[in-house]
């Protein structure tokens, strides 16, 4: 009983450490760092490398990591990635930090190959007795360090000018500069502090449990701290610490008292459940209008054109199916089915601005419906693979209706993670491997064409939706929810429909994914895959069907690229790097191409205009093209005044 309490305190301290680092970077740079956990993980491995791999005495190694390497990393990340993001749409900051997460994860996996087991040095060994409970000196040290950090941060942000200035930068960057403090340097300081705290949390978490270092688990453990940060509304440090303690107790008592056989994977799920509940129950922070797109209005392809492109695509797939080897055919088909799942993101996130990190979960549900519930391989199964995830999507939409931006991303992340652990991983789900049938087609090539046709149908439908009234509603929702409400548009209906359709499309994609592989396991629908999918589509160009196509192609080409580059996880690193670069080109590949074609078109039009215009009027034609609208308007107003 009491021993659970002690364990709860220690868990709580670790969560508090994690969460406070996250809160520090968020409050002082205004950017939610999804890579916080990954930075902590990377630094824990670096510490291992120094202390164990290179036999540096552990106090020196620890000091080196906490006070030199982690700050350097934080400063470098701020300089290279974050500085360009101030004032950027929230979606872009999200993709960039998620890209960093992925990059660090794959980099750590490549550098520290999981061929040997790693343990951090056992510092402060030994035990002592307190209130009849056995505790280790290490645990006592964790508690003391956590209290020290909490008090230190409190004093720093409330009492020192540097701390107050950090908070001032979030309020108003320009005004901070007017007051004589450099916003850039201040923000950099906050990332330095955040990275150090992440490193501290990562090392203490990994060291205390004396378990093997594992890149993925360590990153996730740090993510668990998000729940505590959300209790503090990503702003208040005292509330964050309180949330961390509650979370620690919940995990400790939950693991201790809940029946093991019912919820065996409970421990990692409790923080996610708390995150989900905290998001729903607690009041939201400041609202901002989020924009996920590029901010540029692009032409939407018309129906005849999109139909033609669809037919062309299926024809192309036919040809490719004939040409490709069996192995390459497999990944090509995977790319296309994942492209269908990505189309759901185009609709939901690209058009509607609703961030979802759980599309692979819906895909998994689709595969599950196809494989287990209704006649595997029948058309009814395919319909169910659309309908059942759609219903789940609608329910999820109703639950998370109030949330947006980071909060929505976190809630869907928690949902994906919980489903991952409690549904897909258990007997209830796939029970190891689930065979999923196909409709009609029996040969691999035949099925590829079927899949390509379904991709084309989905793409044409998504484009048709965009052109219609619903598309305009989505665009309005993306632009400003406040404006939508003020003109009497129901954001509820629009959101629920968007989530429903997106979940349905993802489910369909999942069923086809299962059919394409023949079988699926729990690893196919992990939370991480959802993240990769979002990054891939963002890379291709979020908000465009062409982007989904580009992303699918990239996915299909992955093994080919990997064959020629001898760096492990190279394509994963590439996705991470690409996402990180989206800070500069938020339009992605498709956006770049569209810009290019537009530039060529306008350049051609200008040249033609120049050729047509008489020599004397040449400059004036160019002048009209380049004439700023605001000046024109102003001139208009003045004329009206006369």
């Amino acid at each position: 009983m009491l021993s659970y309490f002690v364990v709860g305190i220690i868990y709580g301290c670790l969560y508090a450490l994690t969460a406070s680092g996250l809160v520090v970077t968020y409050t002082t740079s205004g950017i939610f760092n999804f890579a916080h956990g990954a930075i902590g993980m990377f630094m824990a491995f670096t510490y291992w490398q120094l202390a164990v791999g290179w036999h540096v005495p552990w106090p020196i190694a620890l000091a080196l990591v906490l006070f030199v390497l982690a700050p350097l990393m934080g400063a470098a990340i701020e300089r290279a990635l974050i500085r360009q993001l101030y004032g950027a749409p929230l979606g872009v900051t999200l993709v960039v930090t998620l890209g960093l997460l992925l990059f660090l994860l794959y980099a750590a996996d490549g550098i520290w190959k999981p061929t040997i087991t790693r343990y951090l040095p056992d510092i402060f060994p030994g035990q002592f007795h307190i209130f009849g409970v056995v505790a280790t000196w290490y645990e006592l040290m964790v508690v003391i360090v956590s209290i020290g950090v909490a008090v230190g941060l409190r004093v720093f942000f409330k009492r020192t000018r540097a701390g107050i200035t950090m908070r001032a930068v979030v309020d108003d960057r320009d005004l901070t500069a007017r007051a004589g403090a450099s916003p850039a340097r201040t923000a950099q300081l906050s990332w330095i502090l955040g990275a150090s705290l992440a490193a501290l949390a990562g090392i203490l978490i990994a060291g205390g449990r004396l378990q093997q270092l594992d890149q993925f688990n360590l990153t996730l453990l740090v993510i668990s701290g998000y729940a505590a940060a959300v209790v503090g509304r990503l702003k208040s440090l005292p509330l964050t610490v309180a949330g961390a303690m509650v979370l620690g107790m919940l995990v400790s008592y939950g693991v201790g008292y809940l029946p093991i056989n019912l919820l065996s994977n409970l421990e990692p799920v409790i923080p996610m459940a708390m995150l989900f509940v905290a998001l729903l129950v607690l009041p939201q922070g400041r609202l901002r209008t989020a924009r996920f797109g590029t901010g540029k209005a692009r032409r939407t392809v018309g129906l005849p054109q999109s139909l033609a492109l669809g037919v062309l695509f299926v024809g192309g797939a036919w040809v490719v199916a004939e040409l490709l080897s069996a192995g390459n055919l497999l990944t090509f088909g995977q790319g296309i089915v994942l492209g269908i799942v990505m189309l759901s993101l185009v609709l939901l996130t690209g058009y509607g601005g609703q961030v979802s990190l759980c599309q692979m979960t819906f895909a998994g549900l689709g595969a599950f419906c196809m494989g287990k519930i209704l006649g595997s391989g029948s058309i009814v199964g395919l319909a169910a693979a659309f309908a059942i995830p759609a219903v789940v999507g609608a329910v999820l939409a109703l639950v998370v209706l109030r949330l947006r931006d980071i909060y929505l991303a976190l809630a869907t992340l928690a949902f994906a993670y919980a489903m991952d652990n409690m549904f897909f991983n258990r007997e209830l789900g796939f029970g190891g491997i689930l065979h999923v049938g196909r409709v009609a087609a029996h040969s691999q090539r035949g099925f590829l064409i079927e899949v390509a046709a379904l991709f084309a149908v989905a793409a044409v439908s998504v484009l048709a939706l965009k052109r219609g009234q619903f598309g305009r509603r989505l665009a309005a929702l993306n632009d400003s929810e406040v404006a939508c409400v003020s003109i009497g548009m129901s954001t509820t209906t629009t959101k629920v429909i968007a989530f429903t359709l997106a979940a349905g499309i993802a489910g369909l994609g999942g069923a086809l994914y299962g059919g394409w592989q023949g079988q699926v396991g729990p690893n196919d629908f992990q939370m991480l895959t959802s993240l990769i999918l979002l990054l891939l589509i963002a890379l291709g160009g979020l908000g465009t069907v062409a982007g989904a196509f580009a992303a699918a192609l990239f996915y299909a080409l992955q093994p080919v690229i990997q064959q020629h580059v001898h760096i492990s996880n190279f394509t994963g690193l590439l996705v991470g790097l690409g996402a990180v670069s989206l800070g500069r080109n938020p339009g992605g590949v498709a956006g770049q191409l569209a810009d290019l074609s537009e530039r060529i078109r306008t350049g051609w039009a200008e040249r033609r205009a120049k050729a047509v215009a008489p020599a004397g009027q040449g400059p004036s034609v160019a002048g009209v093209g380049g004439m700023p609208e605001a000046v024109g308007e102003e001139a208009e107003l003045v004329r009206a005044g006369r």
């Binding site: 107050i164 007017r178 403090a181 450099s182 605001a630 003045v638």
Partner: protein, 257 residues
């Protein structure tokens, strides 16, 4: 009274080594062109703020007054022309460096940090100037006792007038050489406007060079010793306040030049 701009070259390049900073105007704009992206707002502005002078800048909406102030504060880089401060070329000097060197700019309507308390706002203000925090606090609260009563309240929860008072505190707490004020009377009660302009008058007396942008012509002209009228990104008229007062109607409402 204060750290003159000339003492802090900080990235600024003197145009002419023979220049005597003390004889130069505090702020001089020379053939200045600037704007936002492809939109040019200032189409060649020439304007000088004499040392220790108060210059009122007026003009209709969209004339480019705020843009001009933002160029002077360092937030917008001129596309052509120069900004001189005490004879130094400062086109490329960052806003925070200018602030440290004695340029205090108070933007329209948002001169305070809403999520910081009054005290914390004052603490941030101490980045510029050499006054210790205690002294800044003392001066702020003796000038505006209401702020003293609300010292631990978030600035965002203050009334509009109190917020503007707090913003104004930066004007005297940091001992600026140049003060740039943008519409400090916007939306405030006349009594509060008078209190704010009392501060402006006092600072002018102490020798601070002040550029005031103001919609209420009478208020600004009362403290100014020179005035300029802007329209469509150009200076249309420049002269003593009483002369300018006459030509103002024309500038606001259009009419024959």
């Amino acid at each position: 009274m204060s750290a003159p701009v000339a003492e802090a070259p900080a990235g600024g390049v003197a145009l002419d080594p023979g220049v005597d900073p003390a004889a130069e105007p505090a702020l001089e704009l020379y053939h200045l062109r600037a704007g936002y992206g492809r939109v040019e707002v200032l189409h060649g502005v020439d304007l000088a703020l004499p040392r220790g002078g108060v210059l009122a800048l007026m003009g209709p909406n969209g004339a480019g007054k705020t843009t001009l102030l933002n160029v002077a504060a360092g937030f917008i880089r001129p596309t052509a022309g120069c900004v001189h401060m005490a004879g130094l070329h400062v086109n490329d000097v960052a806003p925070e460096v200018r602030a440290e060197a004695g340029v205090c700019s108070i933007p329209e309507g948002r001169g305070t940090f809403p999520n910081l308390t009054v005290n914390e706002n004052l603490r941030v203000y101490t980045h510029a100037g050499n006054q210790p925090y205690r002294q800044v606090q003392e001066r702020a609260f003796s000038r505006f006792p209401r702020l003293g009563e609300r010292r631990n309240q978030l600035a965002g929860t203050l009334s509009g007038g109190e917020r503007q008072m707090l913003a104004m505190c930066r004007g005297f707490a940091t001992d600026p050489a140049i003060l740039l004020l943008d519409e400090i009377s916007m939306g405030l009660a006349p009594l509060i406007v008078r209190a704010l302009y009392d501060v402006v008058a006092q600072l002018a007396e102490e020798g601070v060079s002040i550029l005031v942008v103001e919609q209420f012509a009478a208020t600004a002209l009362a403290v100014a010793d020179q005035a300029a009228v802007m329209r469509l990104g150009r200076i249309e008229a420049f002269g003593p306040p009483d002369e300018i007062a006459e030509s103002l109607t024309q500038a606001y409402l259009g009419g024959q030049q």
